[in-house]
Symmetry: C2
Subunit: 123 residues, 2 copies
DNA sequence: CAGTATCCTTTTAGATACTG
DNA sequence: CAGTATCTAAAAGGATACTG
């Protein structure tokens, strides 16, 4: 259980910026949150493990599990296990997770507006 | 010059979210941008290398240089070198960099509002 | 003042195979 | 279906010493 995570923040007022970033950084966390916010059916809807995999074709099982667990331990996502066969596990945003919506929206908006990656491509 | 950077994005619409994140992730980039946005004297103001170091007591010279160079090569920050002795180098936001303001603001606002780090601490 | 250069440790992520 | 377990590679970050 080498769950270190969250390198100590040692900034001063910009601290809050880094603190928020630490929660959503990780190769797949942004997309996971985005899908939960934007695509989970009906408000407060959930997505299942394989639903994520379909939306993120290149994530490995290991990484998806990792990222979901970290989001869970940061209190952003809730994991519900149904004792059925075959097993069913649902992920949904917590209140805290849903409160990140403006942040995710801002990230998405900027990415869309700036065609990302390449400065030269900017209209 | 192993300037790899920017792991290939393979999400689908959440892609824009990841793309934006890639530009501001890196242990010190958020704070650097924050300081340039919030504290650089007068609009379009600049900060010098050691001005950053004063604001971020725990950054090493190596990391500060790295992060600034990456921000530069992503077109977010401009670096001006004055041919003087002792040398003077100023960093300021580009247009593109300044356009990240809503994003940084959102990150800051969330961090401030949620006391960061600990879910339990949330009022 | 504003960096470089080296070396080294930690963290992150990917591949692959297996399971209740 | 929803994961574990193991092993490995690569990237990020830190410590320390030196310089135009």
């Amino acid at each position: 259980m080498a769950r270190t995570r969250h390198r100590s923040l040692d900034c001063s007022p910009g601290c809050a910026v880094e603190a928020t970033l630490q929660l959503i950084d990780g190769k797949w966390k942004g997309v996971i949150l985005y899908h939960l916010l934007a695509e989970a059916p009906e408000p407060e809807g959930a997505l299942r493990f394989n639903a994520f995999r379909r939306r993120m074709p290149n994530v490995t099982q290991r990484m998806l599990t990792n990222q979901l667990r970290e989001l869970e331990s940061d209190g952003l996502v809730h994991r519900t296990v149904y004792a059925e066969v075959p097993p069913r596990v649902e992920y949904r945003l917590t209140e805290r997770g849903r409160s990140l919506e403006p942040v995710i929206r801002a990230l998405k908006a900027w990415g869309d507006a700036h065609a990302a990656m390449a400065p030269e491509v900017a209209a």
